[in-house]
Amino acid sequence: MYQFSGKLKKVSIAFIIIGVIGITIGFLNAPSTIEEAKEIIANQAAHGAHDTTHEEVQKETHHNEVKGTSHLHDENHDTKEGHYNAKQEAHASAAAHGKNHKNEHAAHVFHQLQNKPWSALYVSLFFFLGISLLVLAFYAIQRVAQAGWSVVLFRVMEAITANLVPTSIIMVFVVFAAVMHWNHMFPWMGEGIFDPTSPNYDPIIAGKSWWMNVPGWAIRSIAYLAIWNAYRWFIRKNSIKEDTANDGGKTYKLNYNVSVGFLFLFMISESMMSWDWIMGLDPHWFSTLFGWYVLASLLVSALTVIAFVTIFLRSKGALPAVNDSHIHDLAKFMFGFSVFWTYLWFSQFMLIWYADIPEETTYFVARFNEYKLPFLAMVVMNFVFPILLLLNSDFKSVPWFVLLGGVVILAGHYIDVFIMVMPATVGAQWSFGISEISSLLFFLGIFIYATFSAFAKANPIPKANPFLEESKHFHYYNIEHRGEGSSDHH
């Protein structure tokens, strides 16, 4: 049995404490009045850069909206009447914006700065929650596929999914905070958005109110978390039961059936989760493959995390049955899903770029103007680097190569989530500072604590799994296992 060492426990608790302190500082530093925000803007103006880019984007957005108006007007005169009016209104408000720009801008920045510590927390929360969730889904896939190779990694995956519980609890808190208007990350929850008599009325969002309404959103959010946690609780309990059940595979078959059911619910809830929790941040914009895109990003991160935890535990001697071929397979998945992510990222980008419809391009305009460096760096980190590093078959079983590639992949996909959330919530006011780093450390601490304490609680190998022997003897034909002679395998 693996012992969760006191040293690692101290490190994780230190991360959590540092994280909490940093997150608190972030919240205290956020402006609480519009005057404070104006002061911050004045300070930024001294620096110059942020302010100008922001105004450029404002202009561009308005310009696009006007273009969109005439376009829609020509083609869908009757059906899109409501839409057309909305655009007119947006245009009108844009004109007002020009007159009263200074004050409106200050109010706008004030809201963005207030959102900033929330968004920092939310990005890290979603990243870690998503990774734990996708590890759970990958684990369910292994059960449903009755995969032989991965059985010795089952307890590693189960241990990582333990992180789903604390992150879900924090997610419930964030959902509650959004419903209570403690944060304003979701613009469609604003006052009067659905009220035609209100100056804030937004007919585009009002048209989506059958889906985008606060009670529905809150209930769905809780339902997703409930489904995932229920499966995790069940499968963890019954996986341990398998070890000693000795019931002719009855428990094993039950676990198989429940995993099939979970995967069905997961594919639906994952897509809906990505609409509710991420796409809803930009309520005017939509993309039909967004659920897949989020899935790909989280899946490649999840596989990287499985590889990391496996390599760490193996180096501590806790996983004697894991050999180089298992690492090789995980690295193959990291490589393959990096390409898959790029494929989806580019599919989404190219169609929007080609069609050039203003309502769709605003999403990328905001990201390309204000987030150019992370936006482009992400493509290099998530595609070019893993491709070149992990292309060679021999490199995939060398732990430090996998670690090197994995660190870049994880950083790249953190940036990916960052770019999904931040442009909508804080716009040009983004930075990578105390709030962001502390949130990462906070969730990293929770992850370490949850994962390794869960791993220490069960047998490191599911010893009654019918495919255990196959997994122990797993050998990818093309590689030599280090520390083994050629006589160990034929």
Partner: protein, 174 residues
């Protein structure tokens, strides 16, 4: 001519064949060729064959295809007959690059795949309609054949092969 004499040892199981190859190599005899009805994993390593360099050629063929695609799209769509792509008449290759990515991808794969096959044909000295150099038709069905050249040690090799589970041992003039 002594050197043109070879021994053909037949096996009817890939596991037995693998062990036989290992014991023949352990006795320091050269194995000329092994004929199999299907690929046997690990056989190349057991025979002491150098790892294939086909993967490296594939990488460079892919790079060639990518370069060709960049040149081709630039020549066709920008230089020779400038096109207004997606309502963005900027006439620069880089600004239109997203539209060319599928072409770049396809030609990378096309070049890598086709040139790899051609390279494999040339290295193996085979081509369409070439007559098979198969010493025994049973190796296309359910038998494995190991070919060992004889250098005045026919009896020794035969004795060794007899212990490895060969179902048939023939000495053939080549």
């Amino acid at each position: 001519m002594e050197s043109s004499k070879v021994i053909h040892a037949f096996y009817n199981d890939d596991e037995v064949l693998m062990d036989a190859v290992k014991s023949v190599k352990a006795a320091h005899h050269h194995i000329e060729e092994v004929f199999c009805p299907f690929p046997v994993h690990g056989l190349d390593k057991a025979m002491g064959l150098a790892p294939t360099k086909l993967a490296i050629t594939a990488f460079f063929y892919g790079i060639t295809g990518l370069a060709f695609a960049i040149w081709m799209t630039n020549y066709m769509m920008i230089q020779d007959w400038p096109q207004d792509i997606g309502g963005k008449p900027n006439f620069s290759w880089f600004s239109n690059m997203p539209a060319f990515v599928p072409i770049m991808f396809e030609l990378t794969v096309f070049f890598a795949a086709h040139l790899m096959v051609i390279t494999f044909y040339m290295r193996s000295r085979i081509w369409p309609f070439k007559e098979a150099e198969n010493p025994d038709p049973r190796t296309t069905d359910d038998h494995f054949l190991m070919e060992i050249p004889v250098h005045n040690n026919e009896a020794e090799i035969k004795a060794l092969l007899a212990t490895t589970g060969a179902v048939e041992i023939n000495v053939v003039e080549k």
